[in-house]
């Protein structure tokens, strides 16, 4: 396995992580800005990047802003807003061609930092706030995004399941915020919250490409106009558990296919020494086409096209998802519960062990071929406070025994069963 070593530094209270390599034709740049997930701030923090991508002091009109990206050989620029554990994270990404491959007068890496630094720290302002037409349009845009969740039934069911499971926990919040809170946001109040966000967010900047820590540090210093006084560390609270009965929810909508989603809680999180065992648990249960859910729900019972599980170590949860014929609800639910029980009982074959280890090994090794995946994996370290390089996780996975998985299985508790079904009684 290729060892990947990020070189690390700090400048303007931003942590900087650089992986110098000639393997790619591009420079990959990610800027992570994380804040605690809170009802009062979630919507403003979500709206902020949408307004920032409309224009900067240097490129005030959106068409100019986007033309500039095209001048840079169609540099990739985008952002994501999501939750990890109890944090709301905004990630800006840029992907720019290495100058070697094109005829460019100025360094494209330097242009990338000039652009990203402007987006993040030098936005267009008018009368002590953002430009009001941009705020108005992007409020409308985010509102439409929130409303459109219903269009994708699998995603809608997954989000509704989490909402039910985390009633009373900040994790219930949509990382894009809420429609109600969007209403009251003004160009001034948004600018104020942006200023606080710049001051207080956890900031990590990553670069993978043919460069050095020195070069990147100098570019951040030059192009990121920040006057931060500190650089906060992510905190790592223990997960809290809702105790009691399994919560079953049935929701009706005009759909052809029923969506069965389940949520499980576990005390094993990313920083836990049993993390590798939890990964193996989810892998054997449902993360691959050789896993119990795929084999039993799809291949043997022919009930579904997809049936899988996913483990999230940042929050300490696992989800199960499947799309089924509406009248097969009980049948599918029983088969899934049988698989959960067989995991607890340790009905795990040598073949399942070796196949799942091989698949996890493959995923960890493949990651090394994608700049953004290497960045995302390394960010787990920052977020969780647990330094576990891929090589080390790999060794831990190899060492997991059947008993370790059975022990891990006892920590996974079924919490919520959510079924999205048709409007008619079947």
């Amino acid at each position: 396995m290729t060892t990947t070593l990020f070189e690390r530094g700090q400048v303007n209270q931003i942590r900087v992580h650089v992986l110098p390599t000639k393997r790619f034709k591009t420079f990959a740049v990610s800027l992570y800005a994380g804040v605690p997930l809170k009802e009062e701030t979630v919507t403003k923090a979500a709206l902020t990047p949408f307004v920032l991508r409309r224009g900067t002091a240097s490129y005030p009109e959106t068409t100019l802003f986007r033309e500039q990206l095209e001048h840079m050989y169609g540099a990739g620029f985008g952002f994501d807003i999501y939750k990890r554990g109890n944090y709301q994270i905004v990630t800006f990404r840029m992907d720019t061609i290495n100058d070697y491959f094109v005829q460019s007068a100025d360094s494209l890496l330097q242009q990338t930092f000039s652009f990203l630094g402007d987006v993040f720290t030098n936005p267009l302002t008018e009368n002590g706030g953002f430009r009001s037409s941009y705020v108005k349009a992007e409020k409308d845009n985010v509102r439409k995004k929130l409303e459109s969740i219903i269009n994708d039934k699998a995603r809608y069911a997954a989000e509704r399941c989490m909402e039910e499971m985390f009633k009373g926990d900040v994790y219930r919040l949509n990382p894009l915020g809420s429609r109600e809170q969007l209403e009251g946001i003004t160009e001034q109040s948004l600018y104020q919250s942006y200023s606080d966000w710049l001051q207080n967010a956890h900031l990590d900047l990553y670069v993978v490409g043919d460069t050095t820590l020195e070069e990147v540090t100098a570019l951040v210093e030059k192009y990121f106009r920040l006057s931060r006084t500190s650089s906060p560390e992510y905190s790592h609270d223990a997960v809290e558990f809702r105790k009691g009965e399994v919560n079953s929810v049935i929701e009706r909508l005009n759909v052809n296919q029923g969506k069965l989603n389940m949520g499980l809680r576990t005390e094993i999180t990313y920083g836990d020494d049993r993390y590798a065992s939890a990964l193996m648990y989810s892998g054997i249960l449902g993360s691959y086409p050789h896993s119990k859910l795929f084999v039993n729900v799809r291949e043997k019972a022919s009930l579904a096209y997809y049936a899988s599980s996913r483990y999230d170590g940042h929050k300490g949860l696992a989800t199960i998802q499947s799309g089924i014929e509406i009248q097969n609800y009980e049948k599918a639910l029983n088969i899934i519960k049988e698989q959960l029980e067989s995991m607890r009982q340790g009905q795990i074959s040598e073949l399942e062990m070796s196949q799942t280890k091989a698949m996890i090994r493959n995923q960890l090794q493949e990651m090394q071929d994608s700049a953004f995946e290497m960045i995302a994996y390394d960010f787990n370290r920052v977020l969780s406070g647990k330094d576990r390089p891929a090589e080390e996780l790999l060794a831990q996975v190899e060492a997991v025994t059947q008993q370790d998985i059975v022990d891990a299985a006892q920590t996974f508790h079924l919490d919520t069963i959510y079924f999205l079904t048709g409007q008619k009684e079947e």
């Binding site: 390599t21 393997r23 034709k25 591009t26 959106t62 033309e67 990206l69 095209e70 001048h71 840079m72 050989y73 169609g74 540099a75 990739g76 992907d95 061609i97 491959f101 094109v102 349009a137 409308d140 845009n141 439409k144 995004k145 409303e147 459109s148 969740i149 219903i150 269009n151 994708d152 039934k153 909508l253 005009n254 052809n256 296919q257 691959y288 086409p289 050789h290 799809r298 291949e299 022919s302 009930l303 579904a304 096209y305 799309g323 089924i324 014929e325 073949l351 070796s354 196949q355 799942t356 091989a358 698949m359 090994r361 493959n362 995923q363 090794q365 493949e366 090394q368 071929d369 994608s370």
Partner: protein, 427 residues
């Protein structure tokens, strides 16, 4: 073994055509951990009416190419996913209008996995029982797409364009059409389209080219394929006019989904000509509807479009259409505003500076694509099946002229060839 070097791209490609006709390409990626391989047949959902030289003409049920793809994963000794998993390989497949692609990615046991890929695709195993079982699974896949408004609005548009050409038939077919599939019909299609002379193997990643080619050579010699005659794909005459000017589907959505586009009447292009028109059209659509254009900004300011707004162009020898749109509060106003602006632009032509920037953007996007082994394999195969070369695209882009793009704008945006597809909420 043929070695082709692309100096400016820093890529070297190895190629060999096997005695039985199979084309094999290997692109080593020094420093990469993973290997990605695709084994593709030039056979997709549109190939539902055909004749192999010396055999009878056949018509087969809708959705059979996709059904066949599912069934290939079953071997007499069980599911091939299990064999791949034992060697740490992540395997999959997909079916499009004109190809079926089997693939894996792996970082260990790479040569064994290549052999598994080739062997399972060359070893069909269909029984009455396993064919029946698959109908339940694919039925759920069809239902899933029925609930997906983006898929429905897209297929709605193709149905609005095409009356006869099978491109308008859903790739997975319908629950009814797959109900008529038998192991016999599957073997008929398999034998026609999975002959090595209709297939291409592409391997990209941390591999030694000679070792891959040696492995495939030995593997193929043992299988003793007999030469096969040419395949005639039969398409009935498609009228020039669109089948329906407007198609409306009801599904619960937060806002209407509106997709519109133009059906080209000039068809019959192949090879370089088809590829060139493809690139020219995509450039033209980007100049019309790209996110940095004045039109895009105008529509956005009018709150007629959101980030979901996009455009694409899809073509082959016998079909050719654009698809533009997204979520909108007012489909009629969206289309009338577009019509007004596009008509003006078609008169005046694009600005040279905009054109040059758009070419730059395309070249940059192409180079970024080359970071991804998956994209390289898929795009290379797609170009090869059309008789082109993925690695010569930069030169092609550089040779496109502004006049050519302006001409294409006038030709393609023929308002008599417009069709509109909508998905709206039932109430």
């Amino acid at each position: 073994m043929e070695k082709i070097t692309y100096d400016k791209l820093q890529e070297t490609l190895y190629h060999e055509k096997m005695d039985n006709g199979l084309e094999v390409y290997v692109l080593p990626k020094p420093g990469f951990s993973k290997t990605y391989a695709t084994f593709s047949t030039k056979y997709g959902s549109i190939d539902n009416h055909f004749k192999v030289e010396g055999q009878d003409e056949v018509k087969v049920p809708d959705g059979i190419a996709h059904f066949l793809e599912h069934k290939m994963f079953e071997e007499p000794e069980g599911d091939i996913f299990s064999t791949f998993a034992s060697n740490g390989a992540s395997a999959n497949a997909f079916t499009s209008f004109n190809q079926t692609v089997y693939l894996f990615s792996a970082t260990d046991h790479v040569y064994e996995n290549i052999e598994t890929l080739v062997n399972f695709v060359q070893n069909p195993y269909f029984t009455d029982q396993n064919v029946e079982k698959e109908k339940g699974i694919i039925g759920q896949e069809i239902n899933m797409y029925q609930d997906n408004p983006d898929w429905r609005v897209y297929f709605g548009l193709i149905e609005a364009f095409y009356k006869v050409h099978p491109v308008h038939i859903d790739i997975a077919g319908t629950v009814e059409s797959i109900g008529t599939i038998t192991k016999e019909t599957l073997y008929t299609c398999y034998n026609a389209f999975y002959h090595p002379s209709n297939m291409l193997l592409f391997v990209v990643g941390g591999v030694e080219p000679e070792r891959v080619l040696e492995l495939v050579r030995e593997n193929q010699v043992k299988k003793d394929y007999k030469p096969q005659g040419s395949i005639e794909r039969i398409f009935d005459q498609e009228p020039n006019a669109v089948a329906e000017a407007k198609k409306v589907i009801k599904l619960p959505v937060s806002l209407p989904k509106c997709l519109f586009g133009f059906k080209d009447t000039r068809v019959g292009l192949a090879g370089e000509q088809l590829i060139r028109r493809d690139l020219v059209t995509k450039l033209m659509l980007d100049l019309l509807f790209g996110s940095s254009t004045k039109l895009y900004q105008k529509l956005y300011d009018m709150e007629l479009i959101s980030d979901s707004f996009g455009h694409e162009f899809n073509s082959d020898t016998n079909y050719s259409f654009s698809a533009v749109g997204g979520d909108t509060r007012d489909p009629d106003l969206l289309i009338s505003t577009v019509k007004e602006e596009v008509t003006k632009l078609a008169e005046a032509g694009f600005e040279r500076s905009d054109f040059e920037r758009a070419v730059k953007k395309k070249i940059g996007g192409y180079l970024r694509m080359l970071n991804s082994p998956e994209n390289i394999a898929h795009e290379f195969t797609r170009y090869r099946f059309r008789g082109g070369d993925l690695f010569s695209i930069v030169q092609l882009y550089e040779s496109i002229t502004l006049d050519e793009v302006n001409e294409r704008l006038k030709e393609h945006t023929d308002w008599n060839q417009l069709a509109v597809s909508l998905v709206v909420s039932p109430e």
